[in-house]
Amino acid sequence: MDLLRFITAGSVDDGKSTLIGRLLYDTDSIKVDQLETIQRQSKNKQEGEIDLALFTDGLRAEREQGITIDVAYKYFSTDKRKFIIADAPGHIQYTRNMVTGASNSDLIIILIDARQGVVEQTRRHSIIASLLQIPHVVVTINKMDMVDYSEAAYNSIVDEYSRMAQTLNMKDIRFIPVSALNGDNIVNSSPNTPWYTGQTLLDLLETIDVVRDLDFSESRFPVQYVIRPQSDDLHDYRGYAGKVLSGSYKKGDKIIVLPDHIESEIEAVEVHGIEVEEAFAPQSAVLRLKDDIDINRGDVIVTGSSAPIVSQEIEATLCWMDNKPLTAGGKYLLQVQSRRVRCIVKQINFKLDVNTLEKQEGIEKASLNDVVHVTIKTASPIVYDTYTSLRANGGAILIDETANTTVAGLMLS
């Protein structure tokens, strides 16, 4: 069985919560007691009818205010896959939450109201999906029941979206006509859309190819922790614990430790204390090297022909996530995998309008939810790949040095 992580983008008005509720309900993932709670809350509904949207509502603080303040994670599984849903609110002020939820997703479901077509929010969600390089985009055209399941209405939205998507960097886009409320093409093929011969949403989620970073020319292993038991029987043991971000590692592989560029060879690969022939992405593993060299947390062990970038001067697109604005000259901590270094944001090059993709230059500060392009100088070199070439090693965060909060998510370039 496999695992797929996806994010749903859209507002309550698009029927996003109903869609998630429908997926959970139709796959028998909602238990009776949870259903009873929802029924109690569905006061305004007619007898026997439940508001599937209520299943995704979380905290009392949110219910009271009728909003979603944060990313909520939901789980369900079928015989084929386990699914992790990042349910992020879609309103304009929550770009930060959507970026957060999108960062780990293999797939995004973008909801379009069939009556509305492509609106500003659709563009925003699509731009964020492309910035975060989510491998698969599934555009669900919802509320088909409200447009009499019209094929023409569906086709015109598909055309409209496809035209818009041409300006974005998206690799795989699929379209499905659905009604989350009535369950059309969610789990079961709908008799109401005989003209649609494609997969249902669940079928697609169950079968779509999950991209794992197995590019063997780009093997990346950031060291998280050095295991040194120093016991009598393991006196000289020194193992480097980390996660294979991409590619694979085998005994005898020639490796380079970055950023210091020390060469060595792999003596043994261990997964959970057992020596194995090979460790590959995304396994957690331990590497032992032939030479006794000084390697610490934050160093990256790489192999292969294509080396990552080692630099102190970096450009990145970032989403600002803090109430206190970012200004040029601001000092922060930059964390890329297990490496954390001090840095200064030297310059804000431009701001990206996430609704239009327009670049606005001459910007002096970035506020909460702004997406900007910056130039950063770090106190010591960092080891990374460009986000577009290797997502697993191209993401970073900025940490406020005094408040300790995470203030930005960065796509390195």
Binding site: K31, R60, S77, Q224, Y225, G239, K243, N404
Partner: protein, 302 residues
């Protein structure tokens, strides 16, 4: 040529081990909160794997309410000895005496909320900067929104509005003195994942997870074990039943389920068939209000 395919349990395990190692790498004095329940037992197994062939580089901490199942305590001591990890036990009873706390009254008076005081005192006593816990996001809706690295202020409070964004697999454990991070490595596991993992790994569990005969009080839809910690009223209906525990918490607030499941396979097929959620079926303390967990977390609960 080996196949580069991982099962979903391998993927979950790899993520959890990555988180364990981030804790060891980012913090100076972490601890693993161990209750003797299946989730924290799974955590211990993951911690063992994360640092092999070394030992777990942090202690196991048990906040003992005094209302535990004896089977869970026996198991706790044994696993601590087997893993070679240091075991720290602090008792809620002692906190009640030292601080003059008021014991909750009522039929199933639970020390669950008082646990938070003892936990905070223990954190202070040992200067723990991170506490690893076995909470899962599928358990409850307040949990569904909590980060994997969940920063608590010096009063242990969780503020859902001030959570740090958590992107990719990058965890920010930077804190000020006095603050503390609760870390939940199995956030993305659901109940069945834990059981399937226990089965795959051949992990031994306390006997109360399997069917046994026990005297219980029928309390609404729940079966509560007879114990010295609950008040028995005249009109209570006490029966002998074959039961097991789906979760293991305090004897006062964890309900048993009627079951004849005597193996992990039986349990898995039972959970597959059941139409009631884990907490709904077994936790008496969450029934009080729909926001019960949210409130407890804001007050320092893990």
């Amino acid at each position: 040529m080996p196949q580069h395919k991982l099962d979903y349990l391998d993927l979950l395990e790899a993520e959890s081990i990555h988180i364990m190692r981030e804790v060891a790498g980012q913090f100076e004095r972490p601890a693993l909160l161990f209750s003797g329940g299946k989730d924290s037992i799974t955590l211990v197994q993951l911690a063992l794997k994360a640092f092999k062939p070394g030992k777990i580089p942090f202690p196991l901490v048990h906040i003992d309410t005094g209302h535990n199942f004896p089977e869970a305590l026996e198991y706790r001591d044994r696993i601590a000895a087997e893993t070679g990890a240091k075991l720290i036990v602090r008792k809620v009873e002692d906190t009640i005496k030292a601080k003059g706390l008021k014991e909750p009254a009522g039929k199933f008076a639970s020390r669950n909320a008082l646990q938070s005081y003892t936990l905070l005192d223990t954190i202070e006593e040992f200067g723990f900067d991170a506490c690893i816990g076995g909470a899962r996001r599928d358990e409850e809706k307040a949990r569904a929104k909590e980060r994997i690295f969940s920063v608590r202020d010096e009063f242990g409070q969780w503020d859902p509005k001030k959570q740090r964004p958590e992107l990719w697999n990058l965890y920010n454990g930077k804190i000020a003195k006095g603050e503390n991070v609760r870390v939940f490595p199995i956030s993305n596991w659901v109940e069945l994942d834990v059981w399937n993992y226990i089965k795959r790994e051949g992990i031994e569990l306390p006997s109360i997870y399997f069917t046994h005969e026990r005297e219980v009080i029928i309390h609404g839809e729940h079966l509560v074990a007879l114990s010295p910690f609950i008040r028995i009223d005249e009109d209570d209906v006490i029966v002998k039943k074959n039961v097991r525990y789906r979760t293991v918490g305090d004897m006062t607030c964890t309900a048993a389920v009627e079951s004849s499941a005597s193996s992990i396979d039986d349990i898995i097929s039972e959970i597959n068939r059941t139409n009631i959620s884990e907490r709904g079926e077994t936790r008496i303390d969450d029934q009080v209000s729909e926001a019960a967990m949210e409130d407890r977390k804001k007050n320092g609960y893990f």
